[in-house]
């Protein structure tokens, strides 16, 4: 059974009332959702929250999903939108001084990544990605980490392929500069 056929079957079973099919869909896509959210938000604590929000949206909207795009693209669209919404909400909260950085459990990585070297590398990447403007960050993550082609990214973001390439190149240049600075400093 192909990937798309498997998705179709799980969605149909879920619509027919089989809740375990939803669980199987989550198991299939949860890592992709987590890592996209993690790279967008820059920490495990926020990514964890976005993952749950994304699942809630999928759960509520899946019954109306008509397979006009692939389920994979649809899930990424939701994940990306929810991540951006979350980041914007975080900015608003910060501007109202309701939360401060101490609210984020910066040690939460220790619970999920046991290798110290990997943890440090990931923290460095989180830091660098957070320095990219949101739209550039989104394109960079979709292209570089989620390994999507520009057409898929265009379907997710609604942006033109030319604009996406420009964003990706800007982001890549900046990442290389920041990595160089970090390695030298």
């Amino acid at each position: 059974m192909s990937n798309a056929e498997e998705d179709l079957s799980l969605v149909k079973n879920f619509i027919d009332g089989d809740e375990t099919s939803f669980n199987r869909l989550v198991l299939k896509y949860q890592q992709k959702i987590y890592w996209h959210a993690r790279r967008m938000t820059g920490n495990h604590f926020d990514a964890e929250e976005v993952v749950q929000e994304v699942l809630m949206v999928i759960y509520k909207k899946l019954k109306g999903f008509e397979f006009r795009s692939s389920l994979y693209t649809w899930i990424y669209t939701i994940t990306s939108t929810r991540s951006i919404n979350f980041i914007n909400r975080r900015k608003v909260k910060e501007s109202f001084s309701i939360d401060d950085e101490s609210f984020i459990d910066l040690k939460s990585d220790e619970k999920i990544i046991h290798n110290i070297e990997t943890k440090e590398k990931l923290e460095k990447l989180d830091k660098i990605l957070q320095l990219l403007p949101l739209k550039q960050r989104e394109v960079f993550i979709l292209r570089n980490f989620d390994e999507m082609n520009y057409e898929e990214i265009s379907n997710i973001t609604g942006k033109s392929i030319g604009g996406l390439k420009a964003n990706y190149f800007h982001a890549f240049k900046k990442v290389v500069e920041l990595m160089k600075e970090d390695n030298n400093g």
Binding site: M56, I98, V175
Partner: protein, 197 residues
């Protein structure tokens, strides 16, 4: 220079452009140095594509989701409905009775909110539930009764005043035409200072 390197790494060059680029790479130390920087960063990024993280976290995602679904089912409808009314009341009264020259001051409105109020407000504005999600679950009589109950609680009224709470014949434009600016300001300030939820 950077753009050509990026186009090359991103597979955007044609066959002949690729050949030209590779030729130049072999003859230009400056280009080669820059190219190596990109390759080194790319390699670091590639290492971070497949990070192994504790399986316990991923194993816990579905149970945590199911727990949240249960909690939402129990609480969401009533809260959304109550909050919808509060927010609608604030917005309707603000726009109808808005004191001239004053803009909506979000800082003023939000200053007494707790972090939880704030989360709820944002969540409501993002609208995971539509009005029809709420109204579809009640018939007209039940809906009136729920609204009256919420308003009675909020306004601390005795239950026999319920019949005055919902009056669909009210025309807010007529009300605003009959009150002066001072009264409008007083009402506006009362609305701002009232804790609705």
């Amino acid at each position: 220079m950077d753009d050509r390197i990026l186009q090359y790494l991103d597979g955007q060059l044609s066959e002949s452009e690729k050949r030209d680029f590779e030729k130049e790479l072999n003859s230009s130390p400056k280009l080669k140095k820059k190219y190596d920087e990109y390759i080194s960063s790319q390699s670091e990024l590639n290492d971070l594509r497949n990070i192994e993280i504790d399986k316990t976290y991923f194993n816990g995602i579905v149970p945590e989701f199911r727990r949240r679904v249960e909690v939402k089912k129990k609480t969401k409808r009533i809260f959304s409905f109550s909050f919808a009314n509060s927010l609608a009341a604030i917005l309707i009264l603000y726009f109808v009775l808005k004191p001239s020259g004053n803009d909506l001051n979000l800082n003023e409105i939000a200053k007494n909110w707790t972090a939880n109020d704030f989360d709820n407000a944002i969540e409501y504005v993002e609208q995971p539930y539509t009005v029809s999600d709420i109204t579809d679950n009640y018939n007209t009589a039940e809906l009136d009764s729920v609204i009256s109950g919420i308003l009675t609680n909020e306004l601390n009224l005795s239950s026999n005043n319920n019949s005055y709470l919902i009056d669909n014949s009210l025309d807010y434009n007529k009300i605003s035409a009959q009150i002066n600016n001072t009264e409008t300001n007083n009402l506006y300030n009362k609305i701002l200072n009232k804790k609705y939820f």
